[in-house]
Each structure stands twice: as C-alpha cells, then as structure tokens.
C-alpha cells in the first residue's frame, strides 16, 4: 500500500460519527446543488406569450422487440430522407426501462401539421410497436418561469455556500480526530503533502461520490421518461434528449469534482493552520 493510501485510510479510519455525518451532509448538499443545476439545464424557459413552445412536433416511435439491427438502420435512413422530418435520433434499448422494444426513434417533424401524417405512417409500419406524442407536440412542456429560474440560481449559490460551511465543520471535526497523527507527522518531518494530499482526496472523493450518486439518480429518471413519454416525466423535454442528459451528466461530474476540490482545499487550509 502506498504512503498516500495508508495515510488516507488512517484519516478515514479516525473519523468520528459527528465528522462522518457532517461529511455525509456535505455530500447530500452537493447532490442538491447538482440537482438545482441540472433542473436549470433540463427544463426549458417558457415560450414568449402568445406562442407555443417551438414550431416542431415531436414523436417517439418504439421499435418492435424482434427487429433486426439491419432493419433498424434501414428505417433510420428512411426517416432521415423523409422531407417532413427535421431530426431523428436513436435511443438504445438499454436507455429504456421497458424491455418489450428494441430501442426507439425520437422524431422531430419540420412543421406541426406534418406530425399527424408522420405519426400515422409510423403507426402503420409493422417494425414499430408503438408511437407516442411527446409533450413538445402538444405544447404542454414543463417550463421554468424567469422568477423560478432566478430563484433556483440563487438556491444554487446558497447551496454551494451551505455545502462549504457544513464541510468546514465536518473537516474541522475530522482533523480534530486526526490531530495525534498530524502531530506525529509534523514532528517526524514528513512532507506536509503527506497529509495534505489525503485531505484533498477526501474532499474530491465527496464530490465524486455526490456526482456518481446524482448521475445514478438522473439516468433512471431519463430512462423512465423515454420509456413512457406520456408520464409526468415526459413533460420535461430535456429528459427526453439523450445528448442533453449526457451533457448534464458530464457537467454535473465536473461541478461535483470542482466542488469536492474546493472542499478538499478548505481541509488543506485547516490542516495547514492546525500544524502551524
């Protein structure tokens, strides 16, 4: 075991219940911050008064469970070449919670009136098990009004501040229970980074775990929304867009790691003050 892992294990092993609970609370607050951030990203702003939410219609066509891959590819090409269709994206069966299909196509029509004829054509195709219209089609998308968006943004900032404040107490407690070891290392002439690095890693670890937990929540929600677009989850258009969900997952991972690094840096600062 490397020195880093040994000191990290000693640091985690010396945690008392209070410190562990405070660090857990830090992680939960990080998940809330990531939730607020992704809500801002996944929910659209409401359309201007007197207009509907976009000029396109949107459908989701679930493919027959027994459909061979080659037929899926042919169907995709046909849809791409249809002048009534603006965009097509394929959803893997693994991205859906329902198991009776071999994937789905999210089809955005060029104009709203085209949607009905495209839906009829798709429903008549024996390769397609079912066709659903998304909330984007009916214009009933869940939207975040400006005031709520501002509130969420403020909540995000307050969440970050609260997260750092709770982390400060948690790390303070963790360092108090690790005080004896810090003293030995200091007296032994150990390089301060012998204990700074594990403290930094503890913070980053909190951020990574919070991001992983958030992504582990986000993807099942995304899959559930895609599997049943007429459910309440289907009203959040961002949740139906695999690319956007993927982008949110990457961004939340980066934010989680950054927030964790900030918490770790706070811990390093506290340790430096303690050993001085």
């Amino acid at each position: 075991m490397s020195t880093f892992l040994f000191v990290f294990r000693s640091l985690v092993g010396s945690l008392r219940l209070r410190g562990a609970l405070l660090l857990l609370a830090t992680g939960v607050l990080m998940i809330c911050v990531l939730g607020a951030f992704s809500t801002l990203f996944l929910l659209e702003a409401p359309p201007p008064a007197g207009t509907t939410s976009g000029s396109e219609g949107e459908l989701i066509a679930y493919l027959d469970a027994m459909l061979p891959t080659l037929d899926i590819e042919h169907l995709y090409v046909d849809l791409r070449n249809d002048p009534r269709i603006a965009r097509v994206s394929y959803v893997l069966p693994q991205q859906l919670t329902r198991r009776d299909v071999s994937g789905a196509f999210i089809v955005a029509t060029s104009t709203r009136p085209d949607t009905d004829s495209v839906a009829e054509d798709l429903a008549a195709n024996p390769s397609i098990a079912r066709v659903d219209r998304t909330a984007a089609h009916s214009g009933a998308l869940a939207a975040l009004p400006g005031s709520l968006r501002t509130g969420l943004l403020l909540g995000l900032l307050v969440g970050i501040a609260l997260c750092l404040a709770v982390a400060r107490f948690g790390l303070g407690d963790a360092l108090r229970s690790f005080d004896g070891q810090l003293r030995i290392l200091h007296l032994a002439g150990a390089d301060p980074w012998t204990y700074y690095a594990p403290i930094l890693a503890l913070g980053i670890g909190c951020g990574v775990l919070a991001s992983a937990a958030f992504i582990a929540i986000l993807y099942p929600i995304h899959m559930a929304a895609l599997s049943d677009v007429e459910s309440p989850l289907g009203y959040a258009q961002g949740l139906l867009d695999p690319a956007r969900v993927q982008l949110v997952a990457v961004l939340t991972a980066l934010i989680g790691i950054s927030l964790g690094s900030l918490v770790g840096a706070l811990g390093v600062g506290l340790a430096a003050r303690r050993s001085a």
């Binding site: 075991m1 020195t3 040994f6 000191v7 000693s10 004896g180 070891q181 003293r183 030995i184 290392l185 200091h186 007296l187 032994a188 002439g189 150990a190 390089d191 012998t194 204990y195």
Partner: protein
C-alpha cells in the same frame, strides 16, 4: 553535530526567552540542559528540531544552517531529528501501531516498519508491551513508547523535552537508563530537565539554562 551561536528568541508576548545562547554538541554526545521552568529549554529544543525558525543567531545541525535550508532540505533534516516534546501524546491503538503509523507514513513498507518498530521497542525496553493499548500504559511506559516513536526512524539526533518531570526517582532512573541505551547505539542526545538528573545520567555533560542564558 549541533552548533548554536548567538541565538536569541523572543516569544509572541514580546518576552525574551533566549539571549545570546552558544552551544556545541559533538556527534554521539549526550548533553543534559538543566534549568528552572520557563528558562527557555523547550524553545531551544524546538529551535534545534527546526520546528520554529531562529529569529537571531545561528543553529547548525549536521553542519547545516537550518534558517537557510530550502523546503525539501529542511524536511530531509527534520527526518534525521527525533523530537519528543513534553506534551507528546500517543495515538489510540497499540504501542506497535503508534510506531508503525509514523514509519508507514514516512514511506516504509509494512514489513520494514514492523522490523524497525521492534528494534526501537527493544531499545527502550518495551517489547513486552508492544500489543498493549496506549491508554492502558502507565506514565513511564507511555514515555518509553514516546521515545520509541521518536527513534523508530533511526534519527541521528534525539531531542527529549522534560522526560523526568513528575516521575518517581526509580522511574527517572529507568528512563535515564533507556536513554543511555539509545545513546550507546551512536545517537547524539540532548535532554532538558528542570528537576534532579537521574543517577544514570550524572556522568554526562550538563549545561545550565537560566533566564534564557546558557552556562556550562
């Protein structure tokens, strides 16, 4: 091994703790610095251990001026100094775990750490209690364990602050004998004390520190 010249130090409250201190300690020598409480003994040891930087004067350890060392070299030097402060406390866990923590954190492998720990425990006469929890040790054995922690990474210079304070005469002799055993292995040792010097150490060089000034 240690060369201190014109060393002066003022504490945070503006009180002059050390005044023009000169001290020369040869390699493999054992020196006792005796003096009353608040004479500046602990400050002198902290300066020698490179725990605090000198404000005025020079401190040379192994020929190196500790005030002029870069970060990396200072760390290297501090690793060669074993320092047992008066208020040192052991970690929860067994005596062996205490030693192994220090050695593993300094980069030793488990087997190497165990081997070095056993040698250090033998030097201080605590091998029989290596599996005893630190909290269950009596005052003398806690001190022995502290000495073992200080010497387990085989430092060339050992600094021990007030090891005999609050000890019974027979316990003082036991600790004095343990220090002599460590000294016999070729280590330079500087000990401070405000009480009587144990019989085992009476033959060693003693210097007096009073009001921040050192006298032979």
């Amino acid at each position: 091994m240690v060369q201190v010249s014109e060393l002066s130090h003022t504490d945070d409250d503006g009180i002059r703790v050390l005044e023009d201190v000169h001290l020369h300690v040869e390699r493999e020598e054992l020196v006792v610095i005796a003096g009353p409480a608040v004479a500046g003994k602990s400050t002198l040891l902290r300066l020698l251990a490179a725990q605090i930087p000198p404000q005025a004067g020079q401190v040379l350890v192994q020929g190196r001026n500790i005030a002029r060392l870069g970060r990396r070299k200072a760390i290297g030097l501090r690793r060669r100094i074993g320092y047992l402060p008066h208020d040192f406390s052991l970690l929860d866990g067994t005596v062996l775990e205490n030693l192994e923590f220090k050695l593993r954190a300094l980069g030793n492998f488990r087997e190497q750490a165990e081997e070095r720990s056993l040698i250090a425990l033998e030097d201080v006469g605590l091998t029989a209690k290596l599996a005893t929890r630190a909290a269950e040790l009596d005052q003398v054995d806690r001190l022995r364990a502290g000495l073992a922690v200080a010497i387990c990474n085989e430092p060339l210079l050992l600094l021990v602050d007030e090891p005999f304070a609050d000890l019974e005469p027979e316990d003082r002799d036991a600790i004095g004998s343990a220090l002599l055993r460590i000294h016999a292995k070729g280590r330079t040792i500087i000990i401070t004390t405000r009480g009587p010097i144990p019989a085992a150490l009476e033959a060693q060089r003693t210097v007096q520190l009073a009001d921040g000034r050192l006298t032979s």
